[in-house]
């Protein structure tokens, strides 16, 4: 009488090799990829064959969405960013508390008129995001319509808020560069949606040209063979 022998087999699978592979993949992803920047609007950039990389710092990105709303993202030294905020605020008679300035530093990109800036900066990060997502709100996007503004000396200028931001940012940068020749020049990048109508882009470029800013980086995707 032979008994049916039940062989006891261990179901233990050795996961070491698997773990090796996953760690390798993880390292690869961590080293090669960059985080998707949080942007208030989804912008589909057109593709081109140009192969220049976007610089990581010393850049001012002008984000233009389909409807022509403008958002700015300032990526240079934080103290200069705050100085820019103060200077633009000063033009319109707004001052900011240290807490609000701290909140401004954390912003990746912003697009609110100066009049709502302080309330915007008081909001929590989630509320700020939600606020900027609402594109139907006229108080979202940096205004580009010219209104007569009296500056500190009482001189009336017809600069719009967008122009003010750009001119103050570049001015502050240029001042800082005088003392420190190693500092790179602030570059202006335009990131617009494929579907944006040309007049919208033209208005942005015209405003920049008014300030004698004639060199831009147009942010595009790399054209692949399949997208051609």
């Amino acid at each position: 009488m032979s008994k049916v022998k039940v062989k006891k087999q261990s179901t233990f699978i050795d996961m070491t090799a698997m773990s090796d592979v996953t760690v390798l993949l993880l390292t690869f992803f961590m080293l090669t990829s960059t985080f998707i920047a949080k942007e208030p609007v989804q912008v589909n950039t057109p593709s081109s064959v140009a192969e220049f990389k976007v610089p990581d710092s010393n850049i001012m990105t002008i984000l233009v969405d389909k409807q022509g709303k403008i958002f700015l993202s300032l990526e240079y030294q934080q103290d200069q960013v705050i100085e820019t905020l103060r200077a633009v605020g000063d033009d319109y008679g707004y001052t900011f508390t240290p807490k609000q300035e701290e909140s401004f530093k954390k912003l990746k990109s912003f697009g609110v008129p100066m009049a709502s800036m302080s309330t915007f900066l008081e909001m929590t990060v989630e509320k700020q995001d939600a606020y900027m997502k609402d594109l139907s709100n006229p108080r979202v996007g940096i205004p580009t319509d010219s209104l007569e503004v009296k500056d500190a000396l009482g001189v009336i200028s017809k600069d719009n808020e967008f122009k003010r931001w750009v001119s103050h940012a570049t001015q502050i940068r240029d001042e800082a560069r005088k003392g420190n020749p190693d500092m790179a020049e602030l570059q202006i990048a335009i990131k617009a949606d494929k579907e944006t109508n040309y007049p919208v882009v033209k208005k942005v470029m015209d405003d920049l040209r008014d300030m004698r800013k004639n060199r831009y980086l147009l942010i595009t995707n790399l054209k692949t063979a399949s997208s051609e």
């Binding site: 233990f12 699978i13 050795d14 996961m15 070491t16 090799a17 698997m18 773990s19 996953t22 760690v23 993949l25 993880l26 992803f29 961590m30 090669t32 990829s33 960059t34 985080f35 998707i36 950039t45 057109p46 081109s48 064959v49 140009a50 192969e51 220049f52 990389k53 976007v54 233009v64 990048a189 990131k191 617009a192 949606d193 494929k194 579907e195 944006t196 109508n197 040309y198 007049p199 919208v200 882009v201 033209k202 470029m205 015209d206 920049l208 040209r209 008014d210 004698r212 004639n214 060199r215 831009y216 980086l217 147009l218 942010i219 595009t220 995707n221 790399l222 054209k223 051609e228």
Partner: protein, 240 residues
């Protein structure tokens, strides 16, 4: 693999019995966690770094002089970017001030083109830029293979353009891009892109003029291209 065999020596020393113990570490939770992290990285990061295209616009102060200068050159090609992804071009000027030849009513003066690579503006520009294109391309491949630095490429291409300009047998095209209000940003970038592909040395984006509006209206029969002033003058009703 993940086992460590430890030799446990007996403490009494008499029998020196070796006890074999297997230390097995279960890696499954580790793999789980790694997979989670990979998924996170795959969703929240991008491998593509956006590219940029350099664009130099003419300054506002000197735009008129520059325009005049460029239009005077015989090699000027003007692209008009219309609505619905339409593209038109003309060579030279609509009205030659020296000879007095007027092309405004010539139906074949404004030619249709397209953004298509094969038989659109790329093939046309390549044809126009033969000679210069090949020379630049030679250096461009070297640059792409990283045989030469960017500065040398720029210097060489400048030399080639200057040489071509002084060569009476070569017509170096100067491209003028005039987008209408109905063009999209993509159209603009596409045209600028073709300038890079076909190694055009001189190009500029310039505002649309009334003459161009008239040409577009004549070609497409669409009054949307006309300016308000032109409409007020009744150009769309056959006057010029």
């Amino acid at each position: 693999m993940a086992e460590i065999q430890t030799n446990d020596h007996g403490s009494d020393g008499k029998k020196n019995k070796q006890k074999k113990q297997t230390l097995r570490v279960d890696f499954t939770p580790m793999v789980d966690m790694n997979m989670l992290l990979i998924t996170f990285f795959m969703f929240c990061t991008t491998l593509l770094k956006p590219q940029t295209m350099n664009l130099n616009m003419p300054t506002k102060d000197s735009v008129k002089e520059e325009e005049k200068q460029q239009v005077k050159e015989s090699g000027a090609i003007t692209f008009l970017l219309g609505g619905d992804n339409q593209l038109f071009y003309y060579e030279g000027m609509p009205k030659d001030e020296k000879t007095g030849v007027d092309h405004y009513n010539d139906p074949d003066f404004l030619q249709p083109s397209s953004y298509d690579a094969e038989n659109g503006l790329r093939s046309y520009l390549l044809k126009r830029n033969t000679g210069t294109y090949e020379k630049i391309q030679e250096w461009k491949t070297k640059l792409q293979k990283q045989e030469i630095p960017d500065s040398i490429f720029r210097q060489k291409s400048k030399e080639i353009y200057d040489e071509a300009k002084n060569n009476p047998n070569l017509i170096v095209p100067t491209v003028i891009i005039k987008p209408t209000d109905f063009a999209t940003y993509k159209n603009m970038v596409d045209v600028l892109d073709e300038m890079l592909v076909t190694n055009i040395g001189a190009y500029a984006i310039i505002d649309l003029q009334d003459g161009d509006r008239y040409l577009l209206y004549k070609k497409t029969n669409d009054a949307k291209y006309l300016s308000e002033e032109q409409l007020a003058q009744g150009i769309d009703k056959g006057q010029k």
